[in-house]
């Protein structure tokens, strides 16, 4: 187990390094205006060059990389240029992340509590009513872009239930709709995967043996199938949890929640390059870290995993 963890950790670190570097290099292609803010037109060529040089953007690539990483290790993500001029990005993040995480975790909790039982129900009533309803729900959520149903939700549900439209930290009832909206996608995912894994397990030989032993269907479901089906799902959990940091772009803008999602939109619309860069790097890293944690979690639950799992076969 320890050997496996160490190996995965090494793989993750290497991948992380590669991804961050690639993204960093890609970001060198960002349009220049993003480094200047309002003053761009007023400056002439020479002045622009001077400013770019002072930011280290005219240095040779390997120097830029070196500086980037050394800053990173010091916890310095640079300063925002346009969004909040001269303010350290790390500060900005600190004020925004809590909101996103709060809603993200709440949404995830709802998704799990609703999604997993739904998936089980669907597997048990295969091809009958509940399965069809659940499938209809999943198809809708997967096919229609989230923006659309979030909008419709906000439009109609607030009317029906007389809920406040915008988020207000002082009114608890204003937290409900955003959290529920955010959970819809997760619910669909968990239900779909749960159903799939359970149906797979139900076809396996050891279930037939359990039946031959004289166990009732219900017992078999709970004692054999459920645990076996949940284990593969567990690997997705850490990633989802970490992604709550990114915040839902739609939800936050629809309900005016001052979180990370809105930050990304603003950064892009105002072309604040350093901010965009910092955010992109964070999101890229989250995925890798999440995958690593997910694998470790899986390995601790499934006694069969000891060494190599083939990559590219996820």
């Amino acid at each position: 187990m320890l050997k496996y963890s160490a190996k995965r950790l090494l793989q993750s670190v290497v991948t992380l390094f590669l991804v961050v570097t690639i993204v960093f290099l890609l970001m060198r292609l960002m349009p220049e205006e993003g480094y200047f803010g309002e003053g761009y037109e007023k400056l002439d060529e020479a002045q622009r060059e001077a400013i770019l040089a002072s930011m280290g953007l005219r240095d040779p690539i390997h120097i830029q990389l070196k500086n980037f990483y050394s800053d990173l290790f010091k916890g310095d993500l640079g300063e925002s240029i346009i969004y909040r001029p001269k303010v350290a990005i790390a500060e900005i993040l600190k004020s925004k992340i809590p909101y996103s995480v709060k809603f993200g975790v709440a949404a995830m909790a709802i998704s799990l509590v609703v999604g997993i039982p739904l998936g089980i129900l669907m597997a048990r009533s295969k091809n009958q009513l509940w399965d069809k309803l659940g499938t209809g729900y999943i198809v809708f959520i997967n096919a229609v872009p989230a923006a659309v149903y979030y909008l419709l939700l906000q439009l109609y549900v607030t009317d029906i239930f007389k809920l406040p439209i915008l988020y207000n930290p002082d009114r608890p009832s204003s937290w409900i709709l955003p959290a529920i909206s955010m959970s819809l996608g997760g619910t669909a995912s968990y239900a779909m995967w749960m159903r799939r894994y359970m149906v797979d397990e139900l076809n396996k030989d050891y279930v037939k043996l359990a039946r031959a032993k004289g166990l009732r269907e219900k017992s078999i479901m709970v004692r054999h199938v459920l645990k076996n089906a949940i284990v593969p799902m567990v690997q997705y959990l850490p990633t989802s949890l970490l992604y709550t940091v990114s915040g839902s772009i739609y939800i936050e803008s629809l309900y005016s929640i001052p979180g990370m999602g809105g930050l990304l939109v603003d950064a892009i619309q105002r072309q604040d390059n350093t901010l965009v860069q910092a955010l992109v790097l964070i999101y890229s890293s989250i995925g890798i870290i999440g995958l690593f944690l997910g694998d470790i979690l899986m390995a601790s639950l499934d006694p069969r995993i000891k060494l190599d799992r083939k990559e590219g076969a996820r």
Binding site: D205, Y206, R211, A212, K213, G214, H224, V231, D302, P303
Partner: protein, 352 residues
Amino acid sequence: MDNSNVILSVKDLVVKFNLRGKVLTAIRGASLDLYEGESLAIVGESGAGKSVFTKTFMGLLDANGWIDSGSILYKGEDLAKYKTEDDWIKIRGKEFAMVFQEPMTSLNPLRTIGSQVEEAVVLHQGLTGEEAKQKVIEILDDVGIQDPERRYYQYPHEFSGGMRQRVVIAIAVACNPRILICDEPTTALDVTIQAQILNLLKELQKKYNLTIIYITHDLGVVANVADRIAVMYAGDIIEIGTSEEVFYNAQHPYTWALLSSLPQLGVKGQDLYSIKGTPPNLFNEIKGDAFAPRNDKALKIDFIKRPPYFEVSPTHKAKTWLLDPRAPKVEPPESIKFLRRKWKVKANERSE
């Protein structure tokens, strides 16, 4: 084999399956009597219906299959009439237990083997906690697993194929059944392990007073363990008798063909015998003897009317028109004649 104490009696069982909207008749009116304490082997080609036949005793048919007609009499009840889970719970484990073919996938990979055997003990032997655990260790020892106290806590992937099969047998035995059905128990194992498993089953049979049904296509296995042999073809039992009778005095042309295929009976330098043709399509209704199209010595009536059982001895009968007194005398293949000579020798020995 004990005296005629029939514990299971199957009469004219017909089992059908719904595949792609079409109906396939897997069992076409098979009958069988099972005697207490015996070892009965059901042999036949793949697809003959051996597994399906025994699954009906436990209600383990796939969802698209059903019993169309016939009866399965056990302890005064007709199992063919059972429909609900509550009905089958009375049977599964308690009366009938099954050992499956694939030891590699028959066990839950995420649970210790100890817990899986214990499940059966708790369910059928009324023990719990420490008592149950001790019983499990005792059974593991019985099936020949070394160091059972430690292995109790291990997972299936830590066992080899042969050992896993022993665990599966342990689970079956732990259910305390009356009848044990072994569906190709050694097919997936090495030849060297096969003998060990078969011996194990023989020992357990004695110790736990079991009646065993072996399903196999391997006549070698049969020779080793069976008191009686039932030969199955296209969903019907076409010949049944004691081991000796079926081997040395086979009457049905299919049994002849089956025996002739044994490499041991081949003659060095000549081609090995193989049965021509393929088993019939069970989606269609079969008229007459199912084996007739593949039998180059078939009679006209074989294509028209299904043969009934003809008795050869009180314990041996076969469904072939060749046994009707009006049928011409047919020369069986060389290898069968060879076996018949041995039969005569044995008969003489017995009468002395």
